[in-house]
């Protein structure tokens, strides 16, 4: 190789890396400008009254307390429903099915479930949970609908997390006379848990921000009181944001509140992610595999 060839090679490498670097900086830039913009517009609205008071004056004043509680209820409800089912499905697919057409079929169906537009989940939830099963517009119906939406993410990450567990652990456990279920419960699942929680984090993010699935199943336009049971309707942050930005009584006056709502929604997701990440790190340390 001549000297020229080598310097050309080096140049190509440098250019390529700069392109990659610039593009990744662009992505970060976009993220930060969105966050910055929303914070800039909304942070001055957010104070204790804003997060602890009912909306007043046609949602142009007061706070968003019921919407915060509503969204937290929906996150909790959907996860109570979707997390165990999703994790168990993931366990079933990865630990109990053989690598066959059947496994691939189940995986394909799960992937398809993830590709369905959220508004379709909303319609499905309305016709099944609200009407057919008679739950009405309620936290129950909304949580189930959101749960369905979160299921494929949880199933997929559980599967991947289990797949990455060293087969040596399973074999060692089975060779000691453990049953398959004991092996999963005592070895495989604890080792996979930190990565399963990643799926949990992702789905909390998704669930808390969705508007379409709750539109026909739970969300109330204006309901200045807290729910007393899972059969009540609630306000929810993403829907509230939509309402006061597009169809409130006075859109211009409530503009600031809309940004404030967005800030609160982002903060809630951020805080939940931080908590889940803390749990993940703790478990990762407890079951450190190297």
């Amino acid at each position: 190789m001549t000297k020229l060839d080598i310097s050309r090679k080096r140049l190509a490498e440098a250019i390529a890396f700069w392109i990659f670097r610039l593009l990744s900086l662009c992505v970060m830039g976009i993220l930060f400008s969105i966050l910055g913009f929303i914070l800039y517009k909304g942070i001055h609205v957010v104070n204790w009254d804003f997060i602890s008071k009912m909306p007043e004056d046609g949602m142009t004043k007061g706070g968003i307390y019921p919407a915060i509680i509503g969204t937290l209820c929906l996150i909790a409800g959907s996860m109570i429903f979707a997390f165990p089912i999703g994790v168990m499905s993931g366990i079933y697919i990865n630990e109990y099915t053989k690598d066959s057409w059947y496994r691939r079929f189940v995986q394909l169906m799960t992937a398809n479930l993830a590709g369905i537009p959220s508004i379709v989940f909303g319609l499905f939830g309305m016709s099944l949970f609200v009407n057919k099963l008679g739950f009405g517009d309620s936290i129950l119906a909304g949580s189930l609908t959101l749960g369905l939406l979160a299921l494929p993410v949880i199933i997929r990450t559980t599967e991947e997390a289990l797949k990455s567990v060293d087969d040596g652990y399973r074999q060692a456990s089975l060779a000691l006379g453990a049953t398959k279920l004991q092996t999963i419960r005592r070895v495989t699942l604890p080792v996979a848990l930190p990565n399963i929680i990643t799926g949990f984090i992702l789905s909390i993010g998704r669930v808390s921000g969705e508007t379409a699935p709750i539109l026909f199943t739970v969300a109330a336009y204006f309901l200045p009181k807290l729910p007393s049971s899972i059969h009540d309707q609630v306000m929810a942050l993403p829907y509230h944001l939509y309402v006061i930005s597009t169809s409130g009584t006075n859109i211009n006056e409530s503009r600031g509140m809309a940004y404030g709502t967005a800030v609160v929604l982002i903060l809630i997701v951020l805080i939940l992610n931080l908590i889940a990440n803390g749990v993940r790190r703790y478990l990762g340390k407890k079951y450190k595999t190297h």
């Binding site: 053989k98 690598d99 060293d166 040596g168 652990y169 074999q171 060692a172 456990s173 089975l174 060779a175 000691l176 006379g177 453990a178 049953t179 004991q182 005592r186 070895v187 604890p190 080792v191 079951y287 450190k288 595999t289 190297h290």
Partner: protein, 268 residues
């Protein structure tokens, strides 16, 4: 004396059955269309060490895994013939796999302690077999760690993660873990191949000690190791058992030229 003759024969027959701890009778194993074991006949005496040698892919590990039925985990596997432990067919329907695996311990090539404490690793086999008596478990853990020559090194850090141990210590921990449920047979799949020479020597010494209480089958790629630790050596080639004999005999005067070629390093 026709009568005496048959009597003598049946006595011999009974003796024959009492003598062997492990037997395989015309065992064939297929992975899909691959014929991995081709009619293996072998008898192994109690409290001996049998080394399985042969080039990679010759079926020695597959043969080892017959006896705790680890091959059953593989999709699309087919086994014919008979595998007996203490004269009983371990593939018969009455045998529960987890009961069998309690009696037949296994140590793997790569040390694979669980990401749990040292204590919990050794206690694992007891716990999954329904033992929860605290002082019993503590006693058994201590005894197993002593048997595996690891107790002195870990007795002050039983509550520490097993992952913090060195590779050699981890492997002895895996041996202790296997011993804790008191198997009578110990299967070892290249237990020292991932270890440094000092750890290897420790494992070899250990195997020599363990022979008093267990019947051991060990797969190894290391000829010297087979020569040092085993009573009997079996040479596998392309799914066949070429030759099985007294270790000394195999290494000094094998019957088959393929064995001769392999142990002198001409192939494999």
């Amino acid at each position: 004396m026709v009568f005496d003759d048959t009597l003598a024969k049946s006595i011999k027959h009974i003796k024959h059955h009492n003598m062997f701890k492990i037997e395989s009778k015309d065992v064939h194993l297929h992975y899909g269309s691959f014929h991995a074991l081709k009619g293996i006949n072998m008898s192994i005496e109690k409290n001996t060490v049998t080394a399985l040698i042969g080039p990679s892919g010759c079926g020695k590990s597959t043969f080892l895994r017959l006896f705790n039925r680890m091959n059953d985990l593989i999709d699309d596997v087919r086994i014919e013939g008979k595998c007996l432990i203490d004269g009983k067919d371990i593939y018969s329907k009455e045998v529960k796999i987890d009961d069998l695996r309690k009696r037949v311990g296994m140590v793997f090539q790569k040390p694979n302690p669980f990401p749990k404490t040292i204590f919990e690793n050794v206690a694992y086999g007891l716990r999954v077999n329904g033992i929860s008596h605290k002082s019993f478990i503590e006693e058994r853990v201590e005894r197993s760690l002593k048997q595996a020559a690891l107790w002195d090194e870990v007795k002050d850090k039983l509550k520490k993660s097993a992952m913090a141990l060195s590779g050699g210590q981890q492997q002895r921990l895996c041996i202790a873990r296997a011993l804790a449920i008191e198997p009578s047979v110990l299967l070892m799949d290249e237990p020292a191949s991932a270890l440094d020479p000092i750890s290897t020597a420790k494992i070899e010494e250990l195997i020599y000690e363990l022979k008093n209480d267990f019947t051991i089958i060990i797969v190894t790629h290391n000829m010297q190791q087979a020569g040092r630790i085993s009573d009997t050596t079996a040479f596998f080639y392309l799914g066949e058992l070429v030759e099985v004999d007294n270790t000394k005999k195999i290494f000094t005067n094998p019957n088959d030229t393929r064995t001769q070629n392999y142990i002198t390093g001409r192939f494999g």
